[in-house]
């Protein structure tokens, strides 16, 4: 207690430089914890986007591109997959289930995905968690739409509301399918994946809104009331997800699809493609980590410099400590304790600031970047990181501490 009281009072007496050092440390801890937390959460969220799927199939392109547009709704497909190819492949005995995906339209910047009811039955994310409805039910009618949780929340939609889809994927579109409005039949529960940012309609619904469309313009077409779901033939889709009866056949089916004779297709293993894609992001992750460690290093150097600079003005103080019987070891520990108090306060303030910032920006991160970040920053990783900060503080503070120790031994 004497040590702690002395260290506290000594720091308070030099509060100007101490506050500045504490601020520098706080910023560095905020950055290092923030980068680590967002990195971990982004990785977790990334790997949790799709699970339980054995293969993702699309027109031949790069595996990253196929994964990006089919799962993350980022970018566009190079070509479509014909319905015949889809039917042939999914008719195989080894296929347990299939989810067709048709992309190309949007609503106020959110991607619209055409699919079938098997999507709600078989699509899973995280640790094989299936999609659940927060409200309503799947699309049964031609112009029914099921919203992802973020779409409904951010646009303030409810069951029964009518919305209009836009042609293309731009945030602002001048080509609206306003003659064929959709009715919201269901809203999905939050998943923390791109599903939350997607509007889901039936494949026939997608076909229906494009019946009167030629490339680039709209021509007169049939009235909404005259369209029957069953009469609309699907010509092509963008991609499809496959679930196989046996994992053992995955590579076999993948090879057969990649060598499919009717059209050039690509089948990818979602886990492998996710890992490959993350490897590409890994460089940025490494750079961010390096920058945060450099910020911490400079803050620690600032702490050491502040304590070292104070040694000159504390020469008399050290002499007095020695005169009243303090050992050089006492002075070593006292300086270390001062550094640790600064470090402790910085950790507290830095963590509190990060918690507040994450709490305030959580919604914006998920809406604008699709990044689902938990506000709770405390994990084994963050505790390890903070332990590293404490150890680094002790190591760096040993420079002024040893200075005080030597000064105490050579008092004349």
């Amino acid at each position: 207690m004497v040590f702690l009281g002395l260290a506290f009072k000594s720091l308070i007496s030099r509060r100007g430089s101490v506050v500045l050092t504490c601020l520098a440390m706080t910023v560095s801890i905020f950055v290092i914890l923030g980068v680590e937390h967002i990195r971990t959460q982004a990785k977790e969220s990334f790997y949790n986007t799709v699970s339980g799927a054995d293969l993702i199939v699309g027109a031949r392109t790069g595996s990253a591109n196929l994964l990006l547009y089919s799962v993350f709704r980022i970018g566009s497909a190079t070509n479509n997959v014909s319905w015949e190819s889809y039917s042939d492949i999914t008719a195989d005995d080894r296929v347990k289930w299939a989810i067709p995906i048709s992309l190309g339209d949007s609503h106020k910047g959110y991607r619209v995905m055409g699919t079938t009811l098997s999507y709600f039955e078989h699509y899973s994310y995280g640790k094989k968690r299936n999609l659940k409805f927060a409200n309503g039910e799947p699309f049964h009618d031609l112009f029914d739409v099921v919203l992802g949780s973020q779409v409904a929340k951010n646009l303030g939609y409810g069951i029964g509301d009518q919305i209009t889809l836009a042609h293309g994927i731009g945030k602002t579109s001048f080509s609206m399918h306003d003659d064929k409005p959709f009715r919201i039949s269901g809203i999905l529960a939050p998943t923390g994946t791109p599903v939350d940012q997607t509007l889901h309609v039936s494949l026939q619904g997608i076909e229906a809104i494009h019946l009167d469309w030629q490339p680039g313009s709209r021509k007169s077409g049939p009235e909404v009331n005259s369209l029957v779901k069953e009469d609309l033939a699907i010509k092509s889709i963008t991609a499809f997800i496959l679930g196989l009866k046996s994992r053992m056949t995955t590579f076999e089916v993948q090879r057969e699809i990649n060598e499919f004779s009717q059209e050039p297709l690509l089948a990818i293993l979602p886990g492998v493609a996710l890992a490959e894609l993350w490897e590409m992001i890994n460089i940025l992750e490494g750079v961010l980590q390096l920058i945060s460690y450099l910020i911490l290093f400079s803050a620690l150097l600032g702490l050491a410099a502040m304590l070292l600079a104070s040694m000159r003005e504390r020469e008399q103080e050290i002499k007095l400590f020695r005169a009243i019987g303090a050992s050089p070891g006492f002075l070593f520990v006292l300086i270390q304790l001062e550094a640790l108090i600064i470090c402790g306060f910085s950790i507290l303030i830095g963590s509190a600031c990060l918690l507040l910032c994450l709490g305030a920006t959580k919604e914006k991160l998920s809406a604008n970047f699709g990044l689902y970040v938990e506000a709770n920053i405390f994990s084994t990783n963050s505790v390890l990181l903070l332990s590293f900060v404490v150890i680094a503080t002790v190591a760096v503070a040993s420079i002024p501490s040893l200075g005080a120790y030597k000064q105490a031994r050579s008092v004349t």
Partner: protein
């Protein structure tokens, strides 16, 4: 005998080439008040640091209050000093970030393994005896006058009732009034506690307060600047 020196040598370098102090024999009896004077750089502060155990002699016998300091390691000398030696400097006698009470209390922290019972009362009584009010004792040191600060320094150095009090030019920065007041308070407490006093000063007008006055040059055969 409070201080007993025989053939004491102290050199800054380990080879002993530049001997600063070489004292064949010098003693201070128990309860004696000795004034030591000499030119700056002559080794007065070094001798005080040797007698208090902050520095270790290169050679010879140095006995303080019956304990051989020259045979002790650093930790033992620190403990000895904390328990038996009081120290007053010319300036910076107190920690500026502590108040008067805390400064005196800290001195007790190093003097014993555990603080004696009633130490709080003891500190308050001593500070009150030195004309320091409770409100003054709670003030930051910088808010006290120089005279008050020197009185707190006396309390800090005498609270543990040391056998030896070392004063290193404590009056040189004081005006005549404060100097007289300081000497009066210090000597009253010294006499009351039967403490031996080794007082270093250039001011020979203080001579009447002491049993004897000695020039360092008279006892030191070592090389001086």
């Amino acid at each position: 005998m409070t201080v007993n020196i025989e053939n004491l040598r102290y050199a800054y370098d380990k080879k002993g080439n530049e001997t600063l102090l070489d004292i064949p024999r010098w003693n201070i009896a128990k309860g004696e008040k000795v004034l030591l004077h000499g030119p700056s750089g002559g080794g007065k502060s070094t001798l005080l640091n040797l007698i208090s155990g902050i520095l270790r002699s290169s050679e010879g016998k140095l006995e303080v209050m019956g304990e051989r300091l020259d045979k002790m390691n650093e930790r033992e000398r620190d403990r000895f000093r904390a328990n038996n030696v009081g120290y007053v400097f010319q300036s910076f006698n107190l920690f500026p970030f502590l108040n008067a009470y805390e400064n005196v209390d800290l001195s007790l922290y190093f003097s014993q393994d555990a603080k004696p019972k009633g130490s709080k009362q003891k500190i308050e009584n001593l500070l009150s005896e030195l004309n320091l009010s409770k409100s003054d004792c709670a003030k930051p040191i910088r808010k006290l006058s120089i005279g008050q600060q020197q009185r707190v320094a006396i309390a800090r150095s005498l609270i543990k009732k040391p056998g030896l009090l070392i004063a290193d030019e404590p009056t040189s920065s004081l005006d005549e009034e404060n100097r007289n007041q300081f000497m009066s308070v210090l000597l009253d407490l010294i006499n009351e506690q039967d403490t031996t006093l080794l007082f270093v000063s250039h001011d020979l007008s203080l001579r009447p307060h002491f049993n004897r006055a000695e020039a360092l040059a008279g006892i030191n055969q070592g090389k001086t600047n």
